[in-house]
């Protein structure tokens, strides 16, 4: 490919004028991605009901190309963490996150998912899902209204717009190992805090 094709100042030949448009690869790629975000059909608590209401006729998520909610993480781009994440549930949440293919985004919906919310002091409650998985957009509220959720989803779209495949992690050569799945012991055990334990468990799995 001649090098000047990659330059934005490339002149369209006169015979093609009016039939082609020039843009950058990032732009056309992101344009496609932003209107086909598939959220995961994954409800945790109260916020999930407002998420379903957002998909309903009055608020109509489909206007943004997001009406296809998939229960399987393998087919999703966006995880909406809709509710309180408990210690008993967080291993599953992390596992679901790891199972989603890149590029993936996480929207933390509501006070509980963002920081524990009214249940923060509970012995079985995680103080925010961002302690375990990276979160892109936080939506406040208890529960956020469907309008607020829509605004958060538009923010995800804006974030997609700004990405460039030159820089994003998921387009690089190295493979992302994912987040180690926490396990339930006498209390929740985050394996990142205990490298020896993680190693020992990995060895055990290799042997088995």
């Amino acid at each position: 490919m001649p090098d000047e094709l990659n330059k934005p100042e490339y002149k369209v030949p006169p015979e093609l004028e009016g039939t082609v448009a020039i843009t950058t690869l990032d732009r056309i790629y992101n344009w496609g991605r932003r209107y086909s975000v598939w959220p995961m059909f994954f409800g945790l608590a109260c916020c999930a009901i407002e998420m379903i209401a957002t998909a309903g006729a009055r608020f109509d998520l489909a206007r943004f190309g997001m009406e296809i909610m998939r229960p399987s993480p393998r087919q999703c781009d966006l995880m909406i963490v809709s509710g309180t994440v408990t210690k008993k549930m967080v291993p599953q949440v992390v596992r679901l996150y790891n199972q989603m293919p890149e590029p993936k985004y996480v929207l933390s919906m509501g006070a509980c998912a963002s920081g524990g919310g009214p249940f923060k002091r509970g012995y079985n409650v995680i103080s925010g899902v961002d302690k375990y998985i990276p979160v892109d957009v936080y939506v406040p509220g208890c529960p956020p209204t469907p309008q607020a959720l829509l605004y958060g989803l538009i923010k995800i779209q804006e974030k997609i717009d700004k990405e460039s495949i030159k820089e994003v992690g998921w387009y690089q050569k190295e493979e992302d190992p994912g987040v180690p799945v926490p396990i339930l012991g006498p209390d929740l055990i985050d394996l990142r805090d205990f490298p020896e334990l993680m190693e020992r468990l990995a060895n055990k799995e290799d042997q088995a």
Binding site: L44, P71, T86, K88, R121, D187
Partner: protein, 582 residues
């Protein structure tokens, strides 16, 4: 109110006279009910069930009386033919809390006893499967014991010092070794610790025997906690033979948010918004039950004025309509009519939520009731709007749903004769609400033990007789229609006047004692058991959650059915995980 307590006294008297050696009246200040020795519990309960007709054990819970070094187990039971609730209590020393299990007499106690073991460490002798239910096996400690402190323990009660405003805040997590809500016992050593295998995931709850004649593969299928049909984070472990379910174990606790522990630290008034988040479809009726329980404690002075009573009934019945609409929509989802019927029912839900938003300020978490009334009056024009809804819109919509769905061939084929629960089973398994009534037991608290002003309205108790999934589906139509009848009468006769019996308050002077308030929630009997020690905070705050207890019957309904029907059966019970796990 007075009449009810008189009836209750005669009921208690009858038991006292009949079993003078076994029971004695609970004479602590503000307490009612009967005390019985653990050794006589089983024989008393058997006699109560078989001779006196107390066939439905509604709730089992425990209270930790730390200062007295006593652990108390509280049973609430009633006759399925109607009447007030009878309270039986058993006390054991705190150091050795062993109580005979009632699962043999009342199978409905199974999950509740497991919960009491999990959270309070009460051992139930001869319980067939006494393991943790809300927390996981291996968790350290029993959280609801009064001497158990959570990681974020700040203070005995709210407001916590470390959240005090004016820039003096010192967050508790800054001092914690893991900076998070996590603590390990001293004996925990990550280098030698061996994780317990989660056997349930890989193995059925009972060993599978191989059938010699037909060569079918037996396998265990795990549905959930992330499964589109489990209505949230609920899990079922089903053992299958071919396609037939031979065993099923529900696993829950994935949304256990520690309502009861947090509730003990809150003041009484602070718990009201937390009740919204129990069954998050029905915040109004959750408020109702809690307000009733605390008003019982507070006494006559806090009886709500007339207008407030009517507003309460209108809101509670609108909630029932909303909940049943959603139940119908989601049930059709479970049958495979993916989201088209649900979109229609969500539409009605939005219209009812508009009313809630107008009166309470929030769509879902209304926090609308107060002790002695409601927080705000109806805004201008709202009565007319509600009248239009209940006379015109809702009856038309329910008829429309009826026309499209009830005789639909697929709905009938998938649900008739599936997941049958006989009346005897339903009563034994402590089922409540639509599940109980679809099995042919016409028990509705609004009629059987009327509260608020339900005795003034003309309505019928919906009942169906087959006990299958189809009847549980139909009974929701019946109940919506009856609710609309109540709503029409209420909106026509609502008086003007006060909406709160007392001044709005942050703290209430709470007398010592206990109270059990219950309402007929959309999902069944929603009860609140509150114990006050005379301070601003409840000593014990327990929720008798209908979704949780209705799930006790799930296994009985599913045995022998096809695996595809599991989803339909679960959908017909209509659970909400916020209430199941609390």
């Amino acid at each position: 109110m007075n009449e009810n307590s008189k009836v209750l006294e005669t009921y208690e008297q009858a038991v006292l006279e009949r079993f003078p050696d076994w029971v004695q009246a609970d004479e602590r200040e503000g307490y009612q009910g009967l005390l019985v020795d653990p050794a006589n519990l089983l024989s008393l309960m058997e006699a109560l069930r078989d001779d006196l007709g107390y066939d439905l054990l509604s709730s089992v819970t425990g209270v930790d009386y730390l200062p007295d070094e006593k652990m108390e187990v509280v049973y609430h039971l009633f006759k399925s033919t109607g009447g007030p609730i009878l309270e039986i209590k058993v006390q054991t020393p705190r150091s050795k809390t062993v109580v005979p299990s009632l699962v043999g007499l009342y199978p409905g106690a199974a999950f509740q006893e497991r919960e009491a073991w999990d959270l309070l460490g009460i051992k139930f002798e001869n319980h067939p499967n006494l393991k943790r239910i809300l927390m996981w096996e291996g968790f350290e400690g029993h959280p609801l014991r009064k001497d158990w402190e959570e990681v974020y323990y700040g203070d005995e009660k709210k407001p916590y010092e470390d959240r005090w405003p004016e820039g003096r805040a010192k967050k508790i997590e800054q001092d914690l070794p893991y900076k998070e809500n996590i603590a390990y016992p001293e004996s925990f050593n990550p280098e030698t610790w061996i994780p317990e295998p989660s056997e349930l995931l890989f193995k059925g709850s009972t060993p599978l025997e191989q059938d010699k004649q037909i060569d079918t593969e037996k396998l265990v299928v795990n549905l959930g906690p992330q499964h589109p049909s489990t209505h949230g984070v609920f899990r079922m472990v089903a053992s299958l033979e071919g396609e037939t379910v031979v065993d099923l174990e529900p696993v829950m606790g994935y949304l256990h948010r520690n309502h009861e522990k947090i509730g003990e630290k809150n003041t009484f008034a602070m718990n009201m918004p937390y009740t919204d988040r129990l069954d998050y479809f029905c915040s109004m009726s959750n408020n109702f039950g809690y307000a009733l329980a605390v008003e019982k404690l507070l006494g006559e002075r806090y009886q709500p004025p007339e207008r407030a009573q009517y507003i309460r009934v209108i809101m509670a019945e609108l909630t029932r309509v909303l909940n049943h609409f959603m139940a119908i929509g989601f049930f059709l989802n479970d049958l495979g009519a993916y989201f088209t019927p649900a979109l229609y029912t969500i539409k009605e839900r939005e219209l009812i939520l508009d009313i809630f938003e107008a009166v309470a300020g929030s769509r879902m978490m209304c926090n609308y009731f107060r002790f002695g009334g409601v927080v705000r009056d109806l805004p201008e024009g709202m009565e007319g709007h509600i009248r239009e809804m209940v006379y015109d819109r809702l009856p038309r919509q329910i008829d429309e749903l009826d026309r499209y769905l009830v005789e639909n061939e697929i709905v009938v084929g998938r649900s008739q004769g599936v997941g049958v629960l006989t009346p005897e089973q339903a009563i034994g398994l402590s089922a409540a609400g639509p599940v109980l009534r679809a099995s042919g037991v016409p028990y509705d608290i609004r009629r059987a033990d009327p509260y608020s002003i339900y005795d003034r309205f003309d309505f019928e108790v919906a009942v169906r007789y087959h006990g299958d999934v189809y009847d549980r589906f139909l009974i929701r139509y019946d109940e919506i229609r009856q609710s609309i009848r109540i709503l029409q009468q209420a909106i026509d006769s609502i008086p003007q006047g006060e909406i709160l019996a007392n001044k709005p308050a942050y703290k209430y002077r709470m007398p010592k004692g206990e109270a059990y308030g219950r309402v007929e929630g959309p999902k069944g009997e929603l009860g609140y058991y509150v114990v006050s020690d005379g301070t601003d905070n409840p000593w014990r705050y327990h929720v008798r959650a209908p979704s949780f207890i209705n799930l006790t019957g799930l296994r009985e309904m599913c045995l022998g059915e096809k695996v595809a029907d599991l989803v339909a059966i679960l959908g017909s019970i209509d659970i909400v995980l916020g209430e199941v796990d609390r």
